[in-house]
């Protein structure tokens, strides 16, 4: 089994399963911070998925997409944290 097929048939489905689990938490909540953490995790899992796909498809420029998602998910989480603290209620 080549590396590309391992990634396509084992790695990507497993990361997809992890994203599905995080999405359950995102829908379930129960509080807004839970959803923010779940969204942050989905972003992080997306970075892993894109990097794995970059290896499988031999397209190294996809790593730039991963960097952009890392930046955006960090900014989003910090903005949410600030908003939550200033709103001051659950």
């Amino acid at each position: 089994m080549s590396l590309a097929s391992v990634i396509l048939f084992v790695v990507l489905p497993l990361i997809g399963l992890a994203i599905a689990l995080a999405f359950v938490r995102f829908v379930w909540g129960p509080t807004l911070p839970d959803r923010v953490v779940a969204l942050d995790l989905i972003g992080a899992l997306g970075i892993g998925m894109i990097t794995a796909y970059a290896i499988a498809s031999n397209l190294p420029m996809l790593l730039d997409v991963a960097i952009v998602i890392a930046l955006l998910s960090f900014l989003g989480t910090v903005a949410f944290a600030r908003y939550l603290e200033r709103r001051g209620k659950l």
Partner: protein, 215 residues
């Protein structure tokens, strides 16, 4: 060889990421969920990026992968701390099995500042007393006067415990210590007395401003 090595790293990273997904679903409260997801994703993304660096073996790709790892290592703890702190301040519940909450009562609900333990425990013992830092604003009328002239204890019933001037601290100041704008007074009194003193500091500043404008 390089396919073998990066394959092992990718599978390792995938296992970490799956653990993060299970952790966020199964952990009992927000804080434990965060501890599961942040640590595990940093490791997971780290190993997949190292796998990419080994697989492509080009300087630009390796640099990009290492830069992304460094960025993740710097930002993930910051984001986790920001969201955890905000959640604690808006009282997201801890799981019922929690044995010890060391932050309990140490965040000031108004200013969101964290206090160290001794002052907090002192506040618990002196229930009707208030210990507070008051900053002397710019252009305050009391700036330049000494404590004896101001008669803070006689007028407000508040005792000045210490004066913080930059990094320098004057403990138990005598009557001849002068006050300047930017100094911080650490005062003790009943909550009402401290409130009156704080209001006085602010109003003298405004009076001063209108006085200057009249000139």
């Amino acid at each position: 060889m390089k396919e073998m090595l990066s394959g092992i790293l990718v599978i390792l990273g995938t296992i970490f990421m799956l653990v993060a997904g299970i952790g966020i679903l199964r952990m009992p409260d927000l804080y434990t969920r965060m501890s599961a997801t942040t640590k595990v994703t940093t490791l997971g993304i780290g190993s997949i990026l190292v796998a990419a660096a080994i697989y492509f073996q080009e300087l630009s790709i390796v640099a990009r992968a290492l830069a992304t790892i460094a960025f993740m290592l710097l930002t993930t703890p910051v984001a986790a701390h920001a969201i955890g702190r905000a959640s604690y301040l808006i009282r997201v519940p801890l799981c019922p099995q929690t044995l010890r909450d060391e932050l309990y009562g140490r965040y000031d609900p108004q200013t969101h500042l964290l206090e160290s333990a001794p002052l907090y425990e002192l506040k618990l013992q002196l229930t009707n007393l208030h210990i507070e830092r008051l900053k002397i604003p710019d252009r305050a009328s009391i700036s330049g006067k000494n404590l004896e002239e101001l008669q803070i204890r006689q007028q407000y019933g508040v005792t000045v415990l210490a004066i913080c001037r930059g990094t320098h601290v004057i403990p138990n100041p005598d009557g001849d210590v002068q006050l300047f704008s930017g100094d911080e007074l650490i005062v003790i009194g009943t909550p009402e007395q401290v409130k009156v003193l704080r209001g006085h500091l602010l109003t003298t500043e405004q009076a001063n401003l209108s006085h200057d404008q009249a000139k």
